[in-house]
Amino acid sequence: MSETWEWLVHSPLFVLLLTLAAYRLGREVRDLTGGHALAQPVLVAIVVVGGVITAIDLDYADYRDGTEILVFWLGPATVALAIPLHRQAHRLRGFVVPMLVAIPLGAAVSIASAILLVRVLGGDDLLARTTAPKAATTPVAIALAESNGGIAALAAVLAILVGILGAVAGPAVLNLLRVKDHRARGLAQGAVSHGIGASRMLADDETEGAFAGLSMGLTALAMSLLLPALVALLL
């Protein structure tokens, strides 16, 4: 019995099924609540999977190994963000200059404010270096935390949390800020909440989703270039 149990919880089949079922549940919750902003499938799924692996005492490392096949598809899915952009390409006209100014500015402000807020509120140097790249898409946040002396795995978690924050609150906060232009809304969301924010925008409005995807890509680029200098300057 215990041998079978051991096999079961360490089998990729079990953790994959658990993840897919939790995601499925998250989508059900979203549909049942009529698309409530808080009911983001990724959020529901993380809570459910986190609860289950804690309850059955399964190591996160084992869980992560078993779900490697899912993580793999994040790359091709990122490539696929070119598709909504292609469908909305006519809207790029007259937008290139605003975009090329706003994105580096946003990336610099994101990094600097994260570092300063952590330091002012008593976080240590390590935490500041880990928090700095949180607006970049997860794989980039990991790489940037690693190369700038932060904790890579925690940087991934923070990036995902800030992505979920954008998916939950981004559109409502943009309304409060009176940003109504669909392209500007997408650009702002993608610059602070990367792919997870983009997925919420894609569900609401294709233009916003397309520009969020583009913004995520450009922000990853801007952050990779700016982060080492800002860390050196502020820490």
Binding site: T19, G26, A77, V79, A82, V140, A153
Partner: protein
């Protein structure tokens, strides 16, 4: 479906190889995204193209692929609890400042720049 996925993987691979050859600090998939964008523009791909259908299938479930890394939060619950104030304020504060700066800058520049189209 398989043909479409093959295109996506090929673009990612090209992106990954390119960033390594040129030694630029950009993730491979982001360069792959730009390569696919150029290909789609050149071929003026329609909605029935295999790569479009496969890609949109993946994008519908984009959130799924973030779950495994997100579950990593269970290993950092203690660290987060010990630093809850700096982490929470830095995440939310920096997120809000970034959102406002990008949103407002874009809107203002769109309004000011003369080549703005009225359509």
């Amino acid at each position: 479906m398989i043909t479409g996925l093959t295109w996506l993987l090929a673009c990612q691979l090209a992106g990954e190889v390119l960033v390594r050859l040129l030694d630029v600090p950009v993730p491979g998939p982001v360069v792959g995204m730009l390569i696919l964008f150029v290909l789609l523009r050149l071929r003026d791909a329609g909605d029935d193209a295999t790569v479009v259908r496969a890609g949109q299938g993946l994008l519908r479930h984009l959130q799924l692929f973030f779950i495994p890394a997100g579950v990593g939060v269970v290993t950092y619950l203690a660290t987060i609890r010990d630093n809850v104030l700096p982490i929470a304020v830095a995440l939310v504060g920096s997120w809000l400042i970034g959102l406002a700066v990008v949103g407002w800058t874009t809107v203002l520049l769109e309004r000011w720049l003369p080549e703005r189209r009225t359509t």
